[in-house]
Symmetry: C2
Subunit: 352 residues, 2 copies
């Protein structure tokens, strides 16, 4: 099943939406069962009992159809890392085994992790800025489940969660933004500070604790309590549109005042990616970010953003290893990564 | 005259010799006139008198035929810098004006600076390792001059010079070496230390006080006293051959043990030079050094070393300015340099 799944571009790379600055949108809900200990307190047997109970329930939901499910104990480490790189499971989940699992729609846009930090972590994501849409899908999934199991819920606090920061709506809405303009103009810090001040978190590409690489940033709400879900979502969408304006503005100023620096940045990215024989994951992301910017600003022709976005995914460690059919040492990954990118770019016609 | 001169590749770029590791050889002699103050002590008038006396004498020498001569006061700063980049005058000489000048053969391989630190600084250079040959030419020039003017000479010390470090033979023999193999293997320091221990100086591309860029190093004798000229020259040539062996050995080990690092190094150099829009002088030298190595080791095809060596010269600040017909700010030079290299490399077919 996974084999088949990994052949397709993942949810946040699906074409269609305008993905220039807003790469993808994601909403997750934290939910727990009434009268069961949170996964961190429950033993392995209790967790396994919950997973075995939820797996068939989730697998038959209309919202997830057609679905697939995998227990973490059934998935090799190898493939767990791929699920992580596709944003289907969290970093924490890659360390889990028996008693936890994933049920997801086959298009990877909607999914439920069982027994990560909470009994249920529901997720809906898609490319582009689509928070309000995916909230509706999420809401439907949540209702379907609530009709079948009893959630831990307090009339005063709302949904109860393992970590107090999620209590209330249990909702986290996040948007992945590509902000090379602000980065090149050295204006990321004030923007990030402003976002933090109004209660939003700014994180790197793979969420909490990950470094910002490739000028990709996740913006998400910190507060989950005291407001309706629709308002939280609408509020973030509003703020994201403002950040997009900032980025647009930074790009315009780059083109106007520092065109040469910009062309140099994009040209070097193309030159190195097309000719290097060793590329670390971080460097590849940073340089692919340069190509992405060049494409958006039309100073790099003959390359489409989708091809670059595919490389963003395929050049990640687990995807590379899957491609080679074996675990690779970091040095070997750097070689294989450079080879993959060099070959793919040679197939395109780029000029800068 | 200078205009015409600058059209030709300069002495240290002349093809023919094997210039892979030994780029060029150079010998200079310091000589002073009897009964005249050293240039640093003589006033401008005294210097001018000496220049006016020596200019016609030098211009008629068989060794310099066909020759040209320029007084530093007649040469714009612009062109003085070009003479410097072609190694025809020293950095110190670019600051001089009335009372000093240059008489040189039109092929630029043999020349005499008048009133730099000494009354006469004679120089002979050519591409490849040719110290013994150029010493013969130099000796002939020296004899021709000595037949016409009286040198300051002490039977005990030998030729007298403004700086005591040159007293005796007044000879400095130097060889420009391209040592990217030792640099990439991190073995430059022990080699340089060894050379210093046996009385040789190791310097950057443009001599004393200049930084090593492009992995180009000048090796020269420090001691000018107490040995015959032929011995000094033969001794250096011997040592250079040993350094060449070290470099050859380092390159072989690179190819054997770190081929990927090597291919990456050369590939990136090609990629950046072919696509950058801003290149500093230092970066250009370093990257062109990478191409040079790739050509020598046959991992870069379709590009010849001579084309790269021409770029080494043409991408220098003064040559760039001459090309543009005006003085340029550093930022503009970086743009023009990148443009020149990008265009020239696009004309070649390189693969890595």
């Amino acid at each position: 099943m996974l084999e088949e799944l990994f052949q397709q571009p993942c949810a946040w790379l699906q074409p269609g939406a305008d993905t220039g600055t807003v790469v993808s949108s994601r909403i997750r809900l934290a939910r727990n069962l009434k009268d069961a200990a949170f996964p961190g307190w429950a033993g392995e047997e209790e967790c396994e009992r919950i997973w075995q109970k939820l797996r068939p329930v989730l697998s038959e939901l209309k919202s997830l159809e057609p679905s697939f499910s995998v227990g973490m104990a059934e998935v090799e480490e190898f493939d767990r890392l791929i699920l992580f790189e596709r944003h289907l499971i969290s970093g924490e989940m890659t360390q889990r085994g028996r008693g936890s699992g994933l049920v997801a729609g086959r298009d990877e846009t909607i999914s439920a992790m069982v027994n990560e930090e909470d009994h249920l972590r529901l997720q809906c994501m898609s490319s582009g800025l689509t928070l309000q849409n995916i909230w509706k899908r999420m809401d439907a999934l949540d209702s379907e489940i609530e009709a079948r199991v009893r959630y831990a819920f307090s009339p005063r606090l709302g949904y109860l969660t393992a970590c107090p920061t999620n209590v209330g709506t249990g909702l986290r809405a996040s948007v992945m933004l590509h902000l090379p303009g602000l980065a090149l103009m050295n204006e990321l810090n004030p923007v990030a500070k402003g976002l933090t001040k109004i209660g939003l978190a700014v994180r790197g590409l793979w969420g909490e604790g990950t470094e910002a690489a490739g000028n990709m940033f996740q913006i998400s709400n910190q507060i989950t309590l005291g407001d309706r879900e629709e308002n939280i979502v609408r509020n973030i969408e509003q703020i994201v549109l403002e950040v997009v304006e900032h980025e647009k503005n930074a790009r315009a100023r780059l083109l106007e005042k520092r065109e040469l620096v910009l062309r140099d940045h994009v040209g070097r990215a193309w030159g190195i990616l097309s000719h290097a024989h060793l590329l670390s994951s971080k460097e590849a992301l940073d340089l692919l970010s340069g190509l992405r910017l060049g494409i958006d600003l039309r100073i790099l022709s003959g390359v489409d953003r989708q091809a670059v976005d595919r490389l963003l995914l395929l050049s990640q460690p687990a995807h590379l290893q899957r491609r080679e059919g074996k675990m690779l040492k970091p040095k070997d990954r750097d070689r294989v990564r450079a080879e993959l990118i060099r070959t793919q770019l040679a197939g395109l016609r780029g000029s800068s």
